[in-house]
C-alpha cells in the first residue's frame, strides 16, 4: 500500500497571475469543497472507511466530523458495498452523499453497485441517484498494483455515469462542488500524487466548475495535446520544451472524461490539425481510444497526421521505482512523439 506521506518535490501550479486567493493544496481544495457544500446544503453527507474519526487515509475529510457531527460524517466497516450501497440508498431518499473509497482501486469491489445499480437506476425507474464517489488514484508513489491504478476506463464506458478527473487544485474544488450538485452519479478521481504537490490560489467563495467542459491550459498552433489528471503537468512541461524548438503545442485539459467535451477537442484539432493524446492509464481501450475515435470520426477532414496516443503500457502498475518509472509516460516520450507528429 502507498505511503501517504508527501514526498519532497517541486510544487506545481498554473501561472495565473490575475487570480487572487489563499494558496491551497489539492487535498485542501477537496476538503474545502466538501465543507462548503456541507455548509450550503444540509443534504450533503459523507460516507466511507476511516473518514470520520481519522479524517481519511489522505486526510481529505480531516476535521469534518467534529464540524458536522456523526450524523453527517459516517464511518463504515470495511465494506465497499456498504459504502456505495449506503450512498445509493441515501441518494434515493433525498440526500446528497459523497462516498470516499480509501483507494479508487477498491471501486472494483463495488463495481456491480456502481455500474448496475447507481448508473442504471434513473433510466430503469425514473428516480435519480445524485451521489459522488471520490477518492485517490494514480501511480508515482510506489503503491504497487492495487494502490496505483487510474481506474477511469472501468467507468467511462458505462451509460449513466459521469467521470471527472481534475488536474489543478482550483478544479478539484470547483468540479467537486459541481459533482455534489449534479443530479446523477459522478465518479470523482483525485490523483494522490497531486494531493500535496499541486497548489493554486483559489479565490474565496469560488463556485462550481461545470462538468463536461475542458480547458485550454496553453494555446498553440502546431498540435493539440489532449490530456487530464496528473499528466497535465507532464504535458505542460513537454509543451514548454517543444516551444524552445519552435513547436507550439496546445494543451487541452479534459477535466471531465464522461461526458467528453467533444466540441473543444474538435475545435482545437481544427486549429492545429494534429492530435496527440496523453494519459497515465494503460493504452488499450483507455480514454485516449475514445478521443482518437471522436477525432478521426468528426475531424477527419481537418487532420494532417495520424492521431497519436501516449499512455502507460498494457501492464499492471509495478511496484519498484525503476519499473514504475518505466511504466509511467514521461516528458521525454511525449516530446519525442510530439516532435515526430509535428514533422509528419
Amino acid at each position: 500500500m502507498a505511503d501517504p506521506r508527501a514526498k519532497e518535490g517541486a510544487i506545481l501550479s498554473l501561472e495565473e497571475p490575475e487570480t487572487t486567493g489563499p494558496e491551497t493544496f489539492f487535498v485542501e481544495a477537496v476538503r474545502q469543497a466538501l465543507a462548503e457544500e456541507m455548509e450550503r446544503d444540509g443534504r450533503v453527507i459523507l460516507i466511507g472507511e476511516d473518514i470520520g474519526h481519522y479524517g481519511g487515509a489522505f486526510r481529505a475529510t480531516d476535521g469534518l466530523l467534529s464540524r458536522f457531527g456523526e450524523r453527517r460524517v459516517i464511518d463504515t466497516p470495511i465494506s465497499e458495498e456498504a459504502v456505495i450501497g449506503g450512498a445509493i440508498g441515501a441518494a434515493l431518499r433525498g440526500l446528497r452523499p459523497v462516498a470516499e473509497l480509501q483507494f479508487m482501486d477498491f471501486a472494483a469491489r463495488a463495481f456491480d453497485l456502481l455500474v448496475n445499480f447507481a448508473a442504471k437506476y434513473r433510466y430503469r425507474t425514473g428516480l435519480g441517484v445524485p451521489m459522488v464517489v471520490r477518492g485517490p488514484c494514480g501511480a508515482g508513489v510506489h503503491g504497487g498494483p492495487f494502490h496505483s491504478q487510474t481506474p477511469e476506463a472501468w467507468f467511462t464506458h458505462v451509460p449513466g455515469m459521469k467521470v471527472v478527473f481534475p488536474a489543478t487544485a482550483r478544479d478539484a474544488k470547483g468540479l467537486l462542488k459541481a459533482a455534489i450538485r449534479d443530479d446523477d452519479p459522478v465518479l470523482f478521481l483525485e490523483h494522490k500524487f497531486l494531493y500535496r504537490r499541486v497548489r493554486d490560489r483559489i479565490p474565496v467563495g469560488d463556485g462550481p466548475v461545470p462538468i463536461g467542459v475542458s480547458a485550454v491550459r496553453r494555446p498553440g498552433r502546431d498540435l493539440t495535446i489532449v490530456t487530464y489528471g496528473a499528466m497535465l503537468w507532464t504535458a505542460l512541461e513537454g509543451a514548454a520544451e517543444l516551444s524552445k524548438e519552435g513547436i507550439e503545442a496546445e494543451v487541452l485539459d479534459l477535466r471531465t472524461l464522461r461526458p467528453l467535451d467533444e466540441e473543444a477537442i474538435l475545435a482545437s484539432v481544427a486549429r492545429t490539425s494534429r492530435c496527440l493524446i496523453l494519459h497515465e492509464d494503460t493504452r488499450t481501450m483507455g480514454v485516449g481510444a475514445e478521443v482518437a475515435a471522436v477525432v478521426s470520426e468528426k475531424a477527419f477532414a481537418r487532420l494532417d497526421a495520424p492521431v497519436v496516443r501516449i499512455a502507460a503500457p498494457d501492464t499492471p502498475v509495478p511496484f519498484s521505482p525503476p519499473l514504475e518509472e518505466a511504466f509511467l509516460p514521461n516528458t521525454r516520450t511525449l516530446v519525442t512523439a510530439a516532435r515526430q507528429l509535428a514533422a509528419w
Binding site: T76, G86, P97, D112, T125, G160
Partner: protein, 323 residues
Amino acid sequence: MTAVSPERLLDFYRLMLLNRLLEERLVNLYRQGKIVGGLYRSLGQEATSVGTAHALEEGDLLSPLIRNLGSVLTRGASPRDVFAQYLGRAASPSRGKEAHLNFCLPERGVYAGTAMLSTMIPVMAGMLLADGILGKRTVGMTYVGDGATSVGAFHEGLNFAAVRKLPLVLVVEFNRWAYSTPFERQCAARTLADKALGYGMASEVVDGNDVVAVFQAARGAVARARRGDGPTLLECKTYRMKGHAEHDAQGYVSKEELEAWRVRDPIARFERDLEEAGLLSGPERSAVHDAVLAGLDADLAWAEASPMPDPADALRGVFAESR
C-alpha cells in the same frame, strides 16, 4: 389469530387471493406468448409476502424480489401496474424500461432493486440511514431467497445495518430451492437465521405458510426496528411450488416433496382457519373472489389496450438532463 383484527385477517385473505389470481392471469398470458420475457411464480409463497408487508406502516419502505407480488400489492401497487409491467407497456411504472416487479412507487415506499440478488440490502440500509438523518422513523423491509444469502452483498449490507442499528427487516424466504440448487448445496448452516448471530442482530424463524404467524413475527421485527433496537433477520420457511420460472419443469424435484407442500398451501389453510373462526362464510368467500376477479379482468383489459412504448423513449432518461 385472535391478536389480529378481523379486518386485517380478511385483508390478508383478499391480498393472498389477489396475488394468486393475478398470477394465474399472468400464466395464461405467458401461455399465449403475451408476456415479455420470463415469468417467475410465487405459488405457495403468498403468505410470506402478504404477512410481512402487512406489518409495515404508512411511510415505510419495501423492496420486493421477483416473487414478492403479494408484497407490492399489499403496499398498494395496482394490478394495472403489474400487468403493464409484464406486458412491457408505456403506461407501466417503468415505462417499458424494465421487467416484472422492477419498478418504483416512491409515494408508497416501493423501490426496485436490480437483478443482482441481495444488493438491495446495503442500498436499503442507506435509505434507512438517510431517513434517520432526516428525522424520519421509517422502517425498511426487503427480501432474499435462501440462495441469495450466499451473495457478498447480503453480508456487507447486514453487517452495516447491524453495527449502525438500522431499522431494517430482512425477510429470508426459505423456499428450499435456488433455481436448481437445493439448500444442502447452498449452505451448511443448520438454519439461515443462524447467520444473524454473526452480525449481532435479532432473528426469528417462522412458518412462512402461516400468514398470521408471519405477520406477527414481522410486526415484532418492525416494532423492534422502530424502537431503535436494530435490524431483524426473519426467516420464513416456505416452499417454491413451481420451477424457477415457467420455462423450468423442475425435473430435479421429487413428487413426494411437492405433494408434502401442496397440502400446506397457505391460502387453503387460511381459508379453513377463517371459516373455523367464523370470519368467512361460503358466500363471503365467493364475494371476495368475485370482487378480485372483476378487478383483475378490468385491469388486464386496460393493460392489454394500452400502447407499447414509443421507440424514441429508448434514448431518454439516462441523466436528469436527458429526461
